[in-house]
Symmetry: C2
């Protein structure tokens, strides 16, 4: 194809078709642009296919057990027939196969040579993209060559509305080790789409449907172009599937190129009545320009994104590629143009967690966006503002005041955590108990404010969220008269091995911090933004007395600790639990469950799923002494199973902070390669997007040692000896700081208007940066 490949450290490659791995590569090879994500299924379909196009914010429940991010009509289908014989891996032998995701351009390249039962060799190449320049556009270019035969070939470019979301049926899965073909059949299907239109002509195919409960109209328009010698073949118009066809009398050795361009619009984008005309007009215009021109726009947009967030690990191509792979998925997951949508736990690359939004956004994803794409960060936080009504409803339904953000959020902010595991065997308590999410939302707002100085945002949106959520905390906190202190009982902290616990330090301390920050913001806005703030206070019926009470309550929140050992206690009574030891590790030095235990049996022991206290110390770096961080890291690290993909990155970062580098590189790899090598075994369900954010943090905040402390950028780097240099960039209050760190030195280039200055701290040394000049400093 004319669209050339980038250098090797940008390329993720599949070398053969392996149906057992089909789901994994569908996830890895997702193309997207924040508006849509489309899994990397083969154009013609395949065994074990679990394809999906997901549109940010398009949710529907209908007959699902819990609301789903809707599996929308697919724009991928592109089938080649040789004399009627469908060319695919089921019908043919796959002689050669390679696919390459070019992370730099966002193009997915494919080259497959098929041999059919009559020995005919047919090569199919394709390149696919979802445009970053116009988020509604996407396309596939297909090149067919008949290597040893002259045949009539037909190409069908379809839009498939026979979509459903999957409902897991684990009872069936465990029965046997199913072959790949069978595996995906053992699911129930949830339907979300009602058909409204399905039409196709020689010029255009169009399929329109509407989500059943939420009533969102989705229009997909597609146009197929082929070589001049091709003839229009019959278009097929079925109720839930349409296609355009072209046929050609192909001559041996010739290449024939077919372009399919697609536009997707929904009634979230334009009014319902305009969906069709807008989509059709858009695709007609794109088609007139041609595939390469449309793709070129997208590649240019990608280049501009990468300029702000690329990160290179010199001396380690694999690590560079892995970091870029994670950043690629972060970039296609979030939509700076849609403040009503957010990033689900599996982004738009799969149906795991049904597209629901967790604390992952605030704690794992936002740092990346805040420091590289602040506009996107702003949109992600605005989603919380736009779902504030749902949060208010949650609080009211649970008997509290103010706004309580949901543990799992979809389109409205109403709590959507399922109450039971798939099999109905285990009650899920996170929706009721994992209440720290509300403080994490505040944490996201405050981090954004610090990094951007965007006080307009704070005045318009941030303050209202902080105030309403503070009200929640004050009503949720329970006064213990005996000790005259405030407590939070029956909660779950970040470490989900322990349910129904009292006074989880992470939760209590974050709630306290939340109330403190809200009171600070209130004081400052009251002082500096008189009228605007008065109007907000009126609207919320919020008085200075009420805010004073927030501070009073915050001051009395109970934080369990053992001062004699300089240890924070994860929760009240944790130190009395059985101190079960981790004694075995797998070949990657990751802990194995103590004998006789599993996920559900560790409530009575000190074993953790993922960091809880350590997480807190990472998030609030100014609040704990170096000694406390070190003591707690040593204590908790050896009791942590890392059974969440979020865990290793935090341990990499905090290990480096406290000077324990022994596991840092391994934890980094664990995080960076979680999907590339499918080391949790569930990549087929979608990308571990929080881990992708954690990977970026482990480079920048771990090896780079970047932290914002007391409102100032600080660095405390450490590099594994096999790395020559790491480089990354940080957006800071409208400017940009380019950072290169090698084994001895840091190099900073402060990209800001001439005359701007910024004082940073590098390993406890102050450094004054001037705009436009690279400055270097030794560290360590």
């Amino acid at each position: 194809m004319s669209l050339s490949l980038s250098s090797d450290d940008w390329l993720v490659t599949e070398q053969a078709i392996d149906f057992d791995q089909a789901g994994v590569f569908e996830t890895l090879f997702t193309v997207g642009n924040g508006y849509q994500g489309t899994r990397g299924s083969l154009e013609e379909g395949h065994i074990g296919e679990l394809s999906g196009t997901y549109l940010a914010g398009v949710y529907d429940e209908h007959d699902a057990n819990v609301i789903d991010l809707v599996n929308a009509p697919s724009w991928l289908p592109f089938v080649v027939r040789v004399e009627g014989y469908r060319i695919d891996a089921q019908n043919c032998e796959v002689v050669e196969h390679q696919r390459t995701l070019d992370l730099q351009t966002g193009l997915l390249h494919r080259d497959t040579l098929f041999k059919d039962k009559l020995g005919r060799l047919t090569r199919i190449k394709s390149v696919r993209f979802a445009s970053f320049a116009d988020q509604h556009l996407c396309g596939v270019k297909l090149e067919v060559s008949t290597e040893n035969h002259d045949s009539t070939i037909t190409v069908e470019a379809g839009i498939d509305g026979k979509r459903h979301n999957l409902e897991a049926m684990p009872a069936y899965q465990k029965k046997r080790d199913f072959p790949a073909e069978v595996k995906w059949e053992k699911w129930a299907k949830s339907l979300h789409l009602e058909m409204q239109a399905s039409e196709a002509s020689k010029n255009l195919a169009y399929l329109q449907c509407k989500t059943m409960d939420t009533g969102i109209v989705i229009g997909t328009a597609s146009a197929l172009q082929g070589p001049e010698v091709s003839k229009p073949d019959q278009s097929n118009i079925d109720y839930r599937h349409v296609s355009q066809s072209l046929s050609i009398d192909a001559r041996q050795g010739e290449n024939y190129c077919f372009e399919k361009l697609v536009a997707i619009y929904t009634s979230r984008d334009v009014i319902e009545e305009d969906v069709r005309a807008t989509a059709e007009k858009s695709v007609a215009a794109a088609s007139a320009r041609g595939f390469d021109a449309v793709a070129a726009d997208s590649i240019a947009a990608w280049a501009s994104k990468w300029a702000d967030c690329d990160s290179v690990i010199t001396g380690d191509v694999e690590a560079t590629r892995a970091v870029r792979f994670n950043i690629y998925h972060l970039l296609i997951a979030a939509n700076e143009n849609d403040p009503r949508a957010n990033v689900g736990a599996k982004s738009m690359s799969g149906e795991g967690y049904r597209g629901h939004v967790f604390w992952d956004t605030e704690v794992f994803l936002l740092p990346f966006f805040i420091f590289t794409q602040p506009d996107t960060a702003r949109a992600l936080i605005l989603y919380r503002y736009n779902t504030l009504d749902g949060a208010i409803r949650n609080a009211r339904e649970n008997g509290f005041a103010g706004a309580q953000y949901p543990w799992e959020s979809a389109d409205s902010g109403v709590e959507t955590t399922p109450k039971w595991t798939h099999d109905g065997q285990n009650r899920i308590w996170t929706g009721e108990e994992e209440i720290h999410i509300t403080a994490c939302v505040a944490y996201g707002i405050m981090t954004y404010l610090t990094a951007t100085d965007d006080w307009d945002f704070m005045r318009q949106y941030g303050a209202e969220m902080l105030y309403q959520t503070s009200r929640f905390w004050v009503s949720r906190l329970e006064h213990n008269a005996e000790h005259d202190r405030y407590e939070l009982t029956r909660v779950i902290g970040p470490d989900e091995f322990h349910e129904h616990i009292d006074n989880n330090t992470f939760t209590n301390r974050m709630a306290q911090w939340h109330l403190e920050k809200a009171a600070e913001i209130f004081a400052r806005l009251d002082a500096e933004d008189g009228d605007g703030h008065d109007s907000l206070k009126d609207r919320l019926a919020l008085s200075a007395d009420e805010v004073a009470r927030w501070s009073d309550v915050a001051a009395k929140i109970y934080i369990p600790a053992d001062p004699s050992r300089n240890l924070v206690e994860q929760f009240e009574g944790y130190f009395d639990l059985e101190d079960l030891a981790i004694t075995e590790w797998d070949e990657n030095h990751m802990p194995l469950y103590p004998e006789g235990h599993d996920h559900f049996s560790l409530n009575g022991t000190m074993i953790l799923k993922q960091p809880d206290v350590i997480m807190l110390m990472y998030m609030l770096p100014d609040e704990f002494s170096d000694e406390a961080k070190k003591a707690n890291f040593e204590f908790y690290e050896k009791r942590t199973m890392h059974k969440s993909s979020l865990s290793p990155a935090i341990h990499a970062i905090m290990g480096i902070e406290v000077g324990d580098h022994s596991m840092a590189h391994r934890y980094f790899e664990r995080s960076a390669f979680v999907d590339l090598i499918n080391n949790q075994g569930n990549t087929a369900d979608g990308i571990h997007i929080a881990s992708a954010g954690g990977t970026w943090q482990s480079v920048v905040c771990g090896f780079g040692g970047f932290r914002v402390r007391h409102g100032q950028m600080t660095f405390k780097p450490w590099l594994p000896e096999q790395w020559e240099q790491i480089s990354f960039a940080i957006k800071w209050r409208g400017k940009q700081l380019h950072v290169r760190i090698n084994q001895e030195q840091c190099h900073f280039l402060f990209d800001a208007p001439v005359g701007d200055e910024e004082v940073i701290v590098v390993s406890d040394q102050s450094l004054e940066l001037a705009a436009g000049t690279e400055q270097s400093i030794s560290y360590g």
Copy 2:
């Protein structure tokens, strides 16, 4: 179409497309021939489709929870497109629609007028059959007319290998009242087919697959012919679906006729290597003759079947049609040519009970076949002989001697009853406890012998089954030393409301009868069949001493009873249970559950699901006095819920026998219309085939009062006053008796070689029948 319709009392009609009823009509309109059954789905598919072609004896387990009768490749697909626009009920408005199943000819006729979105009216007529003359052949003739437009129409005749069996998911179903489109999606799919070949040319399409565990090769060959003006269009060859296409420039008002003929062969029919050639040759020959000629052969075969089993209720068209409908389904369910297959509880008309074979065969179906199609009956009993190894394995696995027939049987005779209900909530005990099945198998053998005098069969097969099963009983019976009697504890009788019961009278008495009959047969064969019997005894290591012990044990089997009330006790302790009354009936006078009770809560009460004692008295008419029958009928009838579709027919029959006619007609209707009006609500799962057999018995043995008593045909008729006459025929020892019964008289025509005589009993009067002359006698 040129194939004309029979008179109204042969026709079952659907007047509109109602997707909520789609599954019901798919079941009712099943076409078949004992070799295959194909549900009556529309050729082009439809919402709520639950299509299936089932092949007798083709079972497979693979990833299903329990072995399935395999949903084999479908020969139905026949799609019409107008300018590419698929004509079906999803794409178009259905302006007119009617389907008619002609029970006399076995043809399913269809006439639908579609209006597409451009206002084009297209009429599609079809007629479909599965040949009774050559069980491997089937076909669809399609007539298309474009009523108000000239258009290019394309017709695609396909073979669909994308088949799966369904695994119910009731947890999902109960959540909401799903619309029809959604309803059938909430199932898990069990795959059974591995593809082997899929090809299509202008002349022929062929698809071959192999069942995954049982390795049965299934080849389906299809040939499409159209009018001379039609042009071959592209054949589509996909991995699991092939089709041939023809296109035509259709002119307004013209009719265009397309014929699709299909041949199905499996490696159960010919050796694996010959499957393809045989199927292709067969379809080529059929295609050369043309649809009408092939259909004519089938119609002739149907006529010959009906000559032996038609039954008319003069004065009641609805009842006649219903009886014929039940007989139609009996005829297409059983295969006289295949002694390795039997009839599942839903025949081959649906996936209910997964095609498993129950006691239904022996008790409900065999009487119909024995007395109208004795060759078919012989094949059905030979199935038990051919699964004797499985029965021996069951006995061995359960710790017993001899052969124990399974409660649910598939291809091997090994027990296949699932141990849990779909949802895993309720343990199913019938596989362990409903052991009367083994005596029922013996009952089928003995009834067949009495009616046919087929001693060759008894010598070759029947005796061996009787002996091996007797060994099972003797080892299973438990000696009670205190009372010196034999007992059977922890069983379930026909009434499944009561589990884990001891000494169920039905089971104990049938086991006793079984041992008695086995000993009698042994004595007679020993006397009359010296060498042959000696060889059998040698093979089984069976001595006269062992058989003497059968009689001894039989004599000591405990039968619970209350002689003071002339009552048989259903099981030991039954009379001590709570005597809960049925106090409410629905609008059809069928009992409603006592308040607060359901299927699973009646173990502690006297309420029955279906007759148990009454069933026994029906099956062994010579063993109980008239007084006992009357007393027990009165006692048990008012405690019976009729929650099995098998129940009403037996109560109709036994009510008439004891002179309680009050409910007889209502019970008959309940049985005869169970599927036609879907009065159990689950007709979509398949025909209640045992109820179909019960319906025939309620006419012949109920209203006709036919019973074999002491080896002689006897009649004790009673007719509802609204009926003028009933007629039926009975095969008896190679001859045939035609019976007509009106309100006063019976008319008998004995069809036998001249000179043959037969003495029968009519309402206690002896009647000597001479061959060839109709004789009449008054009754009552």
